[in-house]
């Protein structure tokens, strides 16, 4: 119960962070990605702020062997830098550049019910589900 409440709180804080940071305005994102044009570097500070805080927290808490409410920490992927990673990142980048939306901001913006986010989010869900289904089929055949 507490774990779920915490997840809710974290999601709420995350959304507010995205809003304050300007990530929920696709125009800001496009302006940041428009390096050859009217470049607005403001969003670089979003990652700086986020990594600054999170990296510091990880450093300060590095001796913890388990999280507070759960038995263990999530284990990161053991895969190396493989084709899936590169291809996936490349494809994601194209979608992000073409819309100004990445998953987090898109979900946050969903409550605005704007036509653009209502078109984007279902397509994003289908995209994820498609890769999941194809992946499991490929794995089943190996």
């Amino acid at each position: 119960m507490l774990s779920r409440l915490l997840a809710l709180t974290a999601g709420l804080a995350f959304a507010l962070g995205l809003g304050i940071a300007g990530m929920t305005r696709p125009a800001n994102v496009i302006a940041f990605l428009d390096v050859t044009g009217s470049w607005d570097p403001a969003l670089a500070f979003v990652m700086m702020g986020a990594v600054g805080v999170h990296a510091l927290a990880l450093l300060l808490g590095r001796r913890r062997t388990r999280p507070l409410l759960e038995p263990r920490f999530e284990t990161p992927s053991k895969a190396g830098i493989d084709a899936r990673l590169i291809a996936g990142a490349a494809i994601f980048g194209v979608g992000w550049g073409a819309s100004g939306f990445c998953p987090g901001p898109a979900l946050v913006a969903l409550m605005s019910f704007s036509p653009s986010v209502l078109a984007f989010v279902p397509a994003m869900v289908v995209g994820t589900a498609t890769v999941q289904r194809v992946s499991s089929r490929v794995r089943a055949q190996i």
């Binding site: 995350f14 959304a15 300007g22 600054g52 990445c102 987090g104």
Partner: protein, 144 residues
């Protein structure tokens, strides 16, 4: 307003980092939105009752409602064609699943851990995103 854009970006980013830290040290989970969404779409492990991912997403949605009510100017529109948005959405959904992460998963959480995978992934998606904007805006002349 534009003068303090970098400051609100920094503060917003810090809040994002703080929420990721909260999720990590309290629940041991990575605040990677694409992964969280994937966990809801096709859960890998059997879990009874509502999954924690659902609550995180509800938090995101709730935050969206709060923003809409308190600071509607923070929510912007993406005035592209429906086709472009649908294709972009599919690519984001597919690419983040294939690459196991997005701006929060790789860009924030992975980089903070010093993960080489995430550093590479972030560089790649930043590059293709910038290239895409270049092509769409300056070669094809869209969005002008």
């Amino acid at each position: 307003m534009l003068d303090v854009a970098w400051l609100s970006a920094l503060l917003g980013g810090a809040l994002i980092g703080a929420s990721a830290s909260l999720l990590w040290f309290a629940s041991g989970r990575v605040a990677g939105i694409s992964g969280i969404l994937a966990g809801l779409i096709a859960p890998t492990a059997a879990e009874s009752g509502a999954r924690w991912e659902l609550f995180f997403v509800l938090g995101l949605l709730g935050g969206g409602v709060l923003l809409r009510v308190l600071a509607p100017e923070t929510l912007g529109d993406a005035p592209w064609s429906t086709l472009q948005l649908v294709v972009a959405g599919f690519l984001v959904g597919a690419g983040t699943r294939l690459g196991s992460g997005c701006t929060s998963g790789h860009g924030v959480c992975g980089i903070s851990r010093g993960s080489r995978r995430s550093i590479v992934a972030t560089l790649v998606f930043m590059a293709t995103a910038m290239l895409t904007v270049f092509v769409l805006k300056h070669v094809l002349g869209w969005g002008r």
